[in-house]
């Protein structure tokens, strides 16, 4: 075998191994991005999905002691009940967008392992109504502090 041929074969082996690793990596960790309607249409229990939608106002229940979080996610046409174990992230809330990672369970709810709240980039004037709420909160806490 000439040296050149050896090199070419070596290169092909490496390229092949890399291609296989990438292929295996993609098939194992690819996560499909779906909306609640799409999930409702064809949900495979146990399969990993990324689910995007809006948290339906009034559906949010958060139980700090047991860390149980449950809510309904909607895209306007379909809704999906969601359960999660853990603190809701900072930007998460009713009427806000959220992207969840998790899987559909046979019991008919979406089990979220990760919640990513969507940050809206829109301009928000400072000193709006929020402020009054915060002030109340701080007054209470000040009284309580160590």
């Amino acid at each position: 075998m000439t040296r050149r041929r050896k090199l070419v074969i070596g290169g092909l082996v490496i390229a092949g191994a890399l291609a296989y690793m990438i292929y295996a990596g993609v098939t194992q960790s690819a996560v499909y991005f779906v909306t609640p309607s799409e999930l409702r249409g064809a949900a495979v229990p146990g399969k990993a999905y990324r689910l995007g939608g809006m948290v339906v106002p009034g559906s949010l229940k958060w139980e700090p002691r047991s860390l149980d979080l449950s809510f309904t996610l909607s895209d306007g046409t379909a809704t999906v009940p969601v359960r999660h174990k853990g603190t809701p992230p900072d930007l998460f809330g009713e009427g806000r967008g959220a992207v969840l990672e998790g899987n559909w369970t046979a019991d008919g709810y979406f089990k979220a392992s990760l919640i990513m709240a969507k940050h809206s980039e829109e301009y928000k004037a400072p000193h709006d109504t929020n402020q009054a709420g915060y002030r109340e909160l701080f007054k209470t806490l000040r009284g309580e502090g160590r």
């Binding site: 499909y32 991005f33 809701p88 900072d90 809330g93 940050h119 928000k124 806490l141 502090g145």
Partner: protein, 647 residues
Amino acid sequence: MTADLGYGMTLVALGLALYGGIAAGAGARSGRTALIESAQHAAIGVFVLVTSCFALLTYAFLTFDFSVRYVATNTNLGTPFYYRITAVWGALEGSIILWAWMLTLYTIILIVRHRVGARELYPWALATMLGILAFFLLVMTVAAPPFQRQMPVPADGRGLNPLLEDTGMITHPVALYLGFTGFSVPFAFAMAALITGRIGDTWLVLTRRWTIVAWYFLSLGLLIGGWWSYHVLGWGGYWAWDPVENAAFMPWLTGTAFLHSVMIQERRRMLRLWNISLVILTFGLTLFGTFLTRSGVIASVHAFTQGSIGILFLSFLALVLLTALGLVAWRWEALRSEGELDSIVSRESAFLLNNVFLVAAAFTVFFGTVFPLLSEAVRGVKVSVGAPFFNQVNVPLFLSLVFLMGVGPLIAWRRASLESLKRNFLWPVALGIVAAAAAFALGVRSLLAALTFATTVFVAVTIAVDFTRATRARLRVGESLLPAMGGLLLRHNRRYGGFVVHLGILIIALGVMGSHAWSVQTETTLHRGESAELAGYRFRFDGLTAVEESNHFKVIGAFTVSNGRVLGVLRPAKKFYPQEQAPIAYVDYRLGLREDLYLVLGDFARDGSQATIKLQVNRLVSWIWIGGLVLTLGALLAILPERHRTA
């Protein structure tokens, strides 16, 4: 007023940069030095103007000049003094101006250093630099103008993104951009070499130190970015394979490959085509990274058409790549290597493999980052691959790279004999195996951890072997120990700087492995006075307090940490910025060599009686920062001027 002045200066700078680029090219073609000198004057003019723009914008921030829209959207009256300075580059428009300013800075250094020494290449390199500058100035005038009037002038601004109110944000973008822009100099010289046909080693020798400088800053930027992510974002990690991180990591990988393959060309006249391609690729990736992070394309392929910045960057990237590839095709014959690979068991081959793995890693990162976009564009379904994909494919590649780090510097050029292999690698291999066995005996059951131990010890011993051998040689000629070691580091600073960088990488590898394998975390809700336990530590919740800062409110939790004895109080907080829709978590931590305690305040009861916390014991993470420090010191050592050419 301020906005108009700044905009005017940007326009003039754009005109000057275009003129200078054309003049330098024309001067190089015709050999008229007057034209080249005129281009130099234009470059100096651009430098002065961009510096003035930058100073003007900073001044506008310091004086709360809300008549400039960019100032009004990125600061408010409450922003503390020194975050008003960092706010200058806190968003897109300002980061482009910072970028342009650094390019002008590099252009000036290029003029000062290479005006006389590199007669043939210099004018074309200058023309290329001015061309790149003209592009960024164009972006500053049409796509992301920092100087735009805000009418009517608001009484107060919107405020800086609170996550950027951190000291890491002063240095991180600066270092990262110095790295990104730094790679434009080797690129400019590569273009000059292709245009003039002088594709010998001159351009490599001229840009060698430039490349290390760019690499140093890029590494520093990545490390500070990791540190920022760890101590500000509050998710407990330092690297998430986020597209923004990947954008900076890809040019780092190809730049690292280039740093190594250069040595093969210098020594064996091989890989000319490969080296030119790597420089083009690295520079292209710095542009691609900016396109990726700044165009909105990550959110969706359809988002980037909304602003003109994505199209501008993509067009410029296409222009750069087409021009560069055209030139490469034109010089194809001359680019063919003179040297040949003699044996698979040789230093050339180890370096070649190193390059293949680094480029493969860059490709993997690229593929994983653009995969969702490709799948959305081609199949219409959004599919993403997350951290598991990147880890699964890259960990074997990185481990192989670490292994080669031990082989490359010691194995013989051309063809290594069995005898020399035994002499060089017997001890390293033996001790590597011992390390894996020791890890197993100490209870490490993860194959990956054992492999990492074995490889890092193997590489560390090769470095020790080399250094001892070289020191002994100097002792034999009568030097005493310390001067001999110091002399080695300083005289062969490029080689030993490289070794120090390798040591840094080893330490980082151990830190990454440890944090992945052994970190633990939990989440829980505590009433006041209650404690949570994790990994032998107790965290007692003592209560909440509230504080009012200049531009936000803060709710601070107090948690007493103990492991038998009291270690201290951790005070994680939540910060409420009036302009933000939601509070921002403020992490508190206690760093240690063995483990970090890392505490995030989640939810809390409004009366302060109850708090939900996420607590983590992160193992060996500090070694990542220590390794990073070692790595940057090594790079600095390699940047020092060589006192003695290594044979």
